[in-house]
Symmetry: C2
Subunit: 209 residues, 2 copies
Amino acid sequence: MRENPEELAVADEGPRRRMGGRSARVLDAVANAVLEELGESGIEEFSIPRVAARAGVSSSSVYRRWPNKATLIAFAGDRMARETIPFPDLGSLRQDLLRVLQEVVETFRDPKSRALIAMAFSGSDSPDVQRAQTTYWQMRVQEQQPMFDRAIARGEISPDTDTGAIIERAAGPLYFRFFISRLAITQAFLEQLVDAALAPVLAQKPRRR
Amino acid sequence: MRENPEELAVADEGPRRRMGGRSARVLDAVANAVLEELGESGIEEFSIPRVAARAGVSSSSVYRRWPNKATLIAFAGDRMARETIPFPDLGSLRQDLLRVLQEVVETFRDPKSRALIAMAFSGSDSPDVQRAQTTYWQMRVQEQQPMFDRAIARGEISPDTDTGAIIERAAGPLYFRFFISRLAITQAFLEQLVDAALAPVLAQKPRRR
């Protein structure tokens, strides 16, 4: 696990650039600009120079850090997700996961998230889009790792648990219900989802008597 | 369960119209026209008269049977799904479900399915779209019921099993992986998915020793 979340965003971009005290504000401005640009232009017309103009930075500084659409969009999605989806520490994996799902539903209602998700589901075969999505997903799984590490420390799950699989089993049906079947997302539904997602991994653990 | 699958498509449209021997061909033509129109015009510009023209039927005959976009699109999605996704009878619910998931992945690669899914994930708040999706989903769950009925008859699952929940747990992560994380969909992944989806309901059954 990397300690500094910024490192994730630039993992493959070589050593991190120093951006001084403005760093966080500039990153926020770029992330917002990416999501706005995506919402307005879609992925096909997406323009890095326009993103730079929106964010009030030079194109070259954007290209230096994010050499292509894929890394730039993954960065923006991740930065938004990190701001809006919490990293809860409520004492049990079940409670933590439930809290994350509740917040994911909230992000579905946000136009910027919707622009990202619509991009994904437009089913674009562009390698840029595919790379952005997989990169984004891997960043998210890695960022949620501390939640699972605490569950391992508490003996709730085994250290070799496939945490990505748990997130897929919890998040998948949530996306499905929100976007495909459009059935109501109730608290009871979320709890059943978490229980079903955790059942296989909790079952691997020797039962306490 | 209704015996005749056509009945499903017109469930809320009053008594079924007789369409003579041309019936199936006309229904196919309409379904295809709907999916083409959706792919080309999207949901906002979707036009029932254009669908009728594409299908070579009168607008009034379309409106008579499907009074709005929602019922028409749900019908077309269902008709396509019924053609492309099989109703397997392989001797166990696990095998049947696995086969269905394999075919669902195939439909993801089909441009007409993609048009429907992109419509769903555009996140349209139009009541027409929402109604079309929920109607479609309910039709699909109902059509898969015989697969679950056989599993109940074999004693694999309890008669009060929530079959919609099983499908959500199996299909959700599949949609998620294909459209969101874009990770590889392997046979092993599909098998884990089916096992995880069935684990909670198989557990309800008293174990054989």
